[in-house]
């Protein structure tokens, strides 16, 4: 511990140019601060230094803001389709009209192709539709409770046939941007629920394994080994294919998380077991035992708080795998199915070479997947480093 304080002190100490006396004083103050800091404070101080992890934390926070207010960020009904508007290219927002700040998008005008006689839609620079903020749009319930119709973006006072498609439309003419917002909510909550289930199984079985040891430990470790050596995607595919297609969305949603958690818990169980094994030998546990504390009290009052931070870090690192799993399954058409909207469901439209070549914007939902997975990885790395303030 003294060593760790030295290193931390080294990092917090004043620059060399300062008079030596003040320097020593500052050092003492820093050391005092460190010795009275709680574990969480130490973690936070350490985490703060990790620039990339801080950035990742901001990004993750942003993603979960979208999750909470998905309907607010969307501006068109995600299921509203219009076959006539199918596969329109993205319309970027233009912020300035001449020199004046007036956000607008170009309207879309339909012309008939003289050769094929099909109606083709193209952006029309003459027709500027202004974009307004905090506009009234379709009705929804905020947090599933408060009925409202406010949206971040909207076309105020636009004619019904005027619309904007920030990321273009899909084959059914649905607005990709709005669908992406709803998909973010689905995919990220699936990750959370999946991780919660894994965590429950992991702590329970890993805890039992680490606490009792012996035969129970052996059996649980063998089960984990077997589960880990079976290739996951084929197993997931088989399990997902077993869900009858007539099931309601909510039930499919629940079972998908269950399927994903089935493999996910093994990693967490290993972390928990390792922690239990090393803590079991610690003096403070022996002391608690000698003081006559019950087993449950020792676990939850003494052991769990000392490795909670590790669990949080491991959980964050487990999330990306969950997100990728759901995306892969839905992409194959074995996970969530329409009318549910998730990142994988959106990407399914870009699953063949013709689609990818002629309508590349359908690949856009890949971007949030990659950014989210990266952010969770960096955040988890930062948390893991910070979880060991003395390490």
């Amino acid at each position: 511990m003294a060593e760790a304080i030295d290193t931390l002190r080294g990092q917090t100490s004043q620059p060399q140019t300062q008079p030596p006396q003040r320097n020593a004083q500052a050092e003492r103050a820093a050391a005092d601060r460190l010795s009275v800091a709680t574990q969480w404070q130490l973690m936070w101080w350490r985490f703060r230094k990790h620039k990339l992890a801080m950035l990742a934390a901001v990004i993750v926070a942003f993603f979960y803001t979208v999750v909470l207010f998905a309907d607010f960020f969307a501006y068109a009904q995600p299921s509203e389709s219009d076959a006539q508007l199918s596969l329109l290219t993205p319309q970027p927002i233009r912020w300035f009209d001449g020199d004046e700040f007036r956000p607008h998008v170009y309207g879309i005008s339909g012309k008939r192709d003289p050769r094929t006689l099909r109606r083709v839609y193209a952006p029309d620079p003459e027709n500027k539709i202004s974009v307004t903020f905090f506009t009234e749009g379709y009705e929804y319930k905020l947090f599933g409770l408060i009925p409202t119709n406010r949206h971040l973006l909207g076309l105020d006072g636009a004619r019904p046939e005027e619309a904007m498609f920030l990321m273009g439309t899909d084959l059914q003419g649905r607005d990709l941007f709005s669908r992406l917002m709803i998909a973010t909510r689905t995919s990220l909550t699936i990750g959370l629920v999946g991780v919660a289930l894994s965590l429950f199984l992991g702590i329970l079985l890993g805890g039992i394994s680490g606490l009792y040891g012996g035969l129970v430990d052996n059996v649980i470790q063998r089960i984990i080994e077997i589960l880990r050596s079976i290739p996951t995607i084929p197993l997931w595919m088989a399990l997902a294919a077993a869900m009858p297609s007539q099931w309601p969305i909510t039930r499919i949603y629940f079972f998908i998380t269950l399927i994903i958690a089935l493999i996910g818990w093994t990693t967490l169980a290993r972390v928990v077991r390792g922690r239990f094994l090393s803590l079991r030998e610690e003096d403070f546990v022996t002391a608690a035992e000698l003081a006559g504390a019950s087993k449950l009290r020792i676990i939850f009052r003494h052991m769990v708080p000392s490795f909670l931070s590790h669990i949080i870090a491991a959980t964050t690192l487990a999330l990306p795998a969950m997100i990728i799993a759901e995306t892969s399954l839905s992409f194959l058409g074995l996970g969530l199915r329409a009318p549910a909207v998730s990142w994988g469901v959106l990407l399914q439209q870009a699953s063949n070479i013709q689609a990818v070549a002629s309508t590349p914007w359908l690949l856009l939902p890949a971007a949030p997947v990659i950014v989210a997975v990266l952010a969770f990885n960096f955040l988890g790395d930062g948390l893991r480093d910070a979880a060991d303030p003395y390490g």
């Binding site: 080994e225 077997i226 050596s229 084929p234 077993a242 990407l347 699953s351 070549a357 890949a366 990659i370």
Partner: protein
């Protein structure tokens, strides 16, 4: 040492047995069976089938018996090399899977080979030239490899290949005119030309991980006093690095491959669907949708066998390159 190998093989066999039970149960999970979906298919085409005929079909495939009897029959037949009939194709499973399984193995090993060949120099370079531009570049590539699910990578490669390189037939493992040819020298050369793309897509994530571990290990080794000694006695820099530190950092290298192998096999399934490779991936997908019991079960089981064998081989390699493990076994601690 012999007892260590024996134990590993025994654990592998146990895993394979467990995998067979899990596969069989999983395949049995969906309500109804192959005959139900077969009848539904026929009805969709306007053909009716009587209950008697359906029962006869069930009897033919043994679907009318309790599940443990079915499992017992399936597993004993399997041990004799008879994988049952692929109902949808009306051909023995072994015939349907044959080449595709071989190609799955080839693609997976190509990916492992890619990891080994590429990760070693990059890992050494990144450790020796820590914080150089090259190190940052490879770190960046590594993060891409870890963060981008490989099916997405395949999609992006498809897009780039189609859009910017005008490759019409990107993907696949053979040229169009080669696919139906019998095996021969030209066909093998054709396969080798098509292998790099899927191997890189499959191996990128694994490579990233191996580079990360190799770099960390090598950095630890390079700080050891023996490296200073080697330098002090005037060995050339190449020798200083390659002779001992790299050798010592190699151990986790082998064990990581064993841990990554199941991911590669499992990733090959979804990547081959995107790139339309003639491996077992698309076949597994189809058989799962059609509830083709024996075909799907066999594929699941064979994939598990593949990963178990791959892991076992990596354990043996680890034992071969790490004298501490080898001799630790002999001494029996």
């Amino acid at each position: 040492m012999a007892s260590y190998i024996f134990n590993r093989v025994l654990a592998g066999l146990l895993t394979i047995w467990a995998a067979s039970v899990i596969s069989f149960i999983t395949i049995q999970l969906p309500p109804g069976d192959y005959v139900t979906s077969y009848i539904a298919n026929l009805q969709a085409q306007g053909t009716m089938i009587s209950t008697q005929e359906a029962d006869a079909l069930r009897q033919q495939y043994g679907l009318d018996q309790p599940i443990y009897v079915q499992y017992f029959k399936w597993s004993t037949q399997m041990l004799q090399g008879n994988f049952g009939m692929a109902m949808e194709f009306n051909r023995p499973v072994r015939e349907v899977i044959g080449d595709r399984m071989t190609l799955t193995i080839i693609v997976s090993f190509a990916a492992v080979l890619f990891i080994w060949v590429v990760a070693l120099p990059i890992g050494i370079y990144s450790a020796v030239r820590q914080y150089s531009i090259g190190d940052y570049f490879f770190t960046f590539i590594s993060f891409i490899g870890i963060a981008v699910p490989n099916f997405m990578l395949a999609l992006v490669v498809l897009y780039v290949g189609y859009k910017y390189m005008n490759l019409e037939s990107i993907g696949g493992l053979f040229s169009l005119d080669m696919a139906l040819e019998p095996w021969g020298y030209t066909k093998i050369m054709d396969l080798i030309r098509h292998l790099p793309l899927p191997a890189v897509i499959l191996g990128l994530a694994g490579m990233a991980e191996v580079v990360r571990i190799l770099r960390a290990n090598l950095l630890d080794e390079l700080r050891q006093p023996y490296v200073v000694t080697a330098r002090a006695k005037g060995l050339s820099e190449t020798r200083v690095i390659l002779k001992y530190p790299v050798r010592a950092a190699l151990n986790p290298f082998a064990s990581t491959i064993g841990y990554i192998f199941p991911f590669i096999v499992s990733g090959s399934i979804i990547v081959s669907l995107v790139l339309s490779l003639p491996t077992v991936g698309p076949l597994l997908f189809r058989s799962l949708i059609a509830q083709d019991l024996f075909l799907a079960g066999t594929i699941l089981l064979l994939l598990a066998v593949l990963t178990v064998v791959g892991t076992l081989v990596s354990d043996l390699i680890l034992m071969w390159i790490d004298p501490r493990i080898r001799h630790g076994m002999e001494g029996g601690r």
